[in-house]
């Protein structure tokens, strides 16, 4: 019988040569007369082991990684197909790898396990049970379930998902929409991408449930153009879900309709802001809208619209399948459920870590991450994306939950954890925050559009030693103006990384920058 060997096909595995590994495995097996079937699964999210090759054995799946094409012959020599231990790349049973075994994978239970495009595989791993449950419920009951789970928006704003859905359900309209914000632009985040590339049906299912909950019949996934593979996989998955009756005019014979389409963004970070995203979906420049009216009342094309992040929608199938309590049992305080953390930047063992709220950064960066990739001491960490604070070591022992982080002016954001070693120049990072805002501002409000340009200039003057004290004061005032006067989080939060760098790493601002900054 042919042995099944899994070679991931997500962007990270491919970026490290997974296709060449798959080809080499097939070729080498043919040469040796071995019966082997290569399955292209998603990634388990253990990025540092990619390409992570797994083999199916009677005792479960066994992992090897990181594998290069040149490793293939020796792996086969040393018993890859029997899942034998001994090779330098052998990681043992996949599920027992401590990095994976210590996680609480609710949303990400299937990534890397299944063939992302196989509907049968998805169903065999508890897929579509949430949707089947939702089809038997009244809209209000679905909304109640999501409310009871305590799920809050995973895009960064942490607004209770059930309350948002209730608002849309209660708004009378001839047409309502579900919009998935898949414009995952924060550096250090890739959890949305992993959902879309490795388990696309969980997002499709979550959106269909949202549609049933608020009586919306049309959904859009607004996907960033930087994710070409996710586009291809989602398009394919949507077509297959339609063919299997999980999307379309008649969901599984219920008479209820839900249609879904992927729309591509075009390289504008600001379109991750929900009102800018809606403008973009309508075919306009991505200018931020004034709120109110809330998108839940007047959203896409002026109709009531649920706008949720990929991770919020992908959490919903579990909640409907297992019950709100099973989700709410995880977490701490008002932060219920699990958080998808993404270890990135200068990290030895980077990847996806899904944990209940309440863990600390230190546990995450040291126990999971294993410290820096460079081996140098860790100096700063930016949690939550380019609009969130840089945290020094004194803040690495706080529990990760929305409220605790907010108290110290930090954010959990979308769960990105970007680590920097002691070679980082924090004044340069602060300057980059302003430069990024200048580059990506939609231009509608002055504090963001002009403030960011002035911010770069002021930081340059400080570093050049020109009227340092006066310019430091000016930078403080500028940050306040941006924070208080900007229309959205782009201008309003850009000061956070700047102020945190100033506060915790002031010495870096006292010296001139090194090297090229072009």
């Amino acid at each position: 019988m042919s042995v099944r060997v899994f070679v991931p096909r997500d962007t990270t595995a491919l970026s490290l040569g997974a296709d060449a590994v798959a080809t080499r495995l097939e070729r080498e097996a043919e040469r040796r007369g071995l019966a082997l079937t290569v399955v292209r699964n998603g990634s388990r999210g253990l990025a540092w082991l990619e390409p992570l090759v797994e083999v199916e054995t009677p005792a479960g799946r066994v992992a090897y990684g990181p594998v290069t094409p040149a490793d293939v012959p020796s792996l086969l020599d040393e018993g890859l197909l029997e899942g034998r231990d001994g090779h330098a790349l052998a990681q043992g049973p996949t599920e027992s790898i401590p990095y994976l075994a210590r996680q609480q994978r609710l949303t990400f239970s299937r990534i890397g396990v299944t063939d992302p495009l196989s509907v049968d595989d998805y169903r065999a791993h508890d897929g579509f049970r949430g949707l089947e449950a939702a089809l038997a419920l009244e809209p209000q009951d679905i909304v109640e379930e999501v409310k009871a789970s305590g799920l809050r928006g995973r895009g960064g704003a942490a607004f209770p998902t059930g309350i948002k859905w209730q608002t849309v359900l209660d708004a009378p309209a001839d047409q309502k929409y579900i919009v998935c914000n898949a414009d995952e632009g924060d550096s250090g985040t890739f959890a949305d991408r992993l959902v879309m590339e490795c388990d696309p049906y969980v997002l499709i299912e979550g959106m269909a449930i949202a549609g049933l909950a608020v009586n919306a019949t049309q959904g859009y996934i607004y996907l960033r153009s930087e994710y070409p593979l996710a586009k291809q996989i989602l398009d394919d998955a949507i077509a297959r879900a339609e063919a299997a009756g999980y999307l379309g005019d008649d969901l599984r014979g219920s008479g209820r309709a839900f249609h879904l389409e992927v729309r591509l963004g075009a390289g504008a970070y600001i379109c991750g802001e929900e009102t800018s995203l809606l403008e973009s979906l309508e075919g306009k420049r991505g200018l931020v809208r004034f709120k109110p009216p809330l998108p839940a009342i007047e959203g896409l094309f002026g109709r009531p619209t649920v706008v949720n992040n990929v991770l919020s929608l992908a959490a919903v199938p579990f909640i409907l399948a297992e019950g709100a309590q099973a989700y709410a049992n995880h977490g701490m305080g008002r932060s219920r459920g699990t958080l998808a953390l993404q270890l990135a930047g200068n990290v030895k063992r980077g990847g996806l870590v899904e944990l209940s709220f309440g863990t600390t950064l230190r546990t995450l960066m040291e126990d999971f991450g294993g410290g820096t990739a460079s081996g140098r001491p860790l100096r700063a960490v930016q949690v939550g994306g380019p609009l969130c604070a840089y945290l020094p070591e004194s803040q690495w022992d706080m529990p990760l939950d929305y409220e605790t982080f907010a108290e110290v002016g930090a954010g959990v954001g979308h769960g990105g954890v970007v680590m920097f070693d002691d070679s980082v120049d924090m004044a340069e990072q602060a300057r980059f925050s302003m430069e990024f805002c200048k580059e990506e501002s939609c231009g509608k409000c002055t504090p963001c559009r002009i403030g960011s340009t002035r911010g770069v200039e002021v930081i340059d003057r400080i570093r050049a030693g020109r009227d340092r004290d006066a310019n430091l004061e000016l930078l403080g005032e500028l940050c306040e103006t941006m924070e208080d006067g900007s229309l959205c989080a782009m201008g309003g939060m850009t000061p956070f990384p700047v102020q945190s760098a100033l506060k915790h790493f002031p010495d870096d601002f006292l010296r001139a920058p090194e090297g090229d900054r072009s």
Binding site: T11, T12, Y227, A266, G267, L281, R285, G416, V418
Partner: protein, 164 residues
């Protein structure tokens, strides 16, 4: 040479007509044009405006708002270097300086041999394995200056093939 990437008003009109019924059709149309012609030709603006009932200024405004859309043809390959924080933590700054020096161009410029257009990008979602670079639709991780040079050599020595 019959190059289907050369645009004509008829070809633009066909792309527009295939999509104009969609709600919010402008971005899908611009993507379709750029996918087909590698850029959005200036000459397409009045055709799109006419078909969607917009002004030329509105169409131009949308094209110029988004980094992704370009109004002149790029080189044979587009190379994007990630400039965002996670890649910075792994050496993106020296890498971008190296890329510019090696290719002899800045961002949004094309090498003299028309082989490579260099662009900046803010995050490719490969943040645990930076620095990352995108070449056309392929994303590469852990790109050192040496790997970058090897990549450029490979792109330049590939036999000319008819694309699409």
């Amino acid at each position: 040479m019959n190059d289907s990437r050369e645009w004509t008003p008829q070809a633009v009109q066909a792309e527009v007509d295939a999509l104009k019924h969609k709600p919010g059709a402008l971005l899908p149309i611009l993507h379709a044009l750029q996918d087909r012609f590698d850029h959005v030709p200036e000459g397409a603006v009045p055709i799109i405006a006419e078909s969607l009932g917009l002004t030329r200024a509105e169409v131009h405004g949308v094209i110029s708002f988004y980094h992704h859309f370009r109004t002149s043809p790029p080189g044979r390959h587009v190379v994007q270097v990630c400039r965002a924080e996670a890649c910075q933590a792994r050496g993106a700054r020296p890498l971008e300086a190296h890329a510019k020096a090696t290719l002899g161009v800045g961002y949004h410029q094309t090498t003299a041999d028309r082989e490579i257009t260099l662009e900046a990008v803010y995050c490719l979602g490969n943040c645990a394995c930076g620095p990352s670079v995108r070449v056309d639709d392929q994303i590469l991780g852990r790109v050192t200056p040496e790997r970058f040079d090897a990549l450029v050599d490979e792109l330049r020595t590939q036999p000319l093939e008819v694309l699409g």
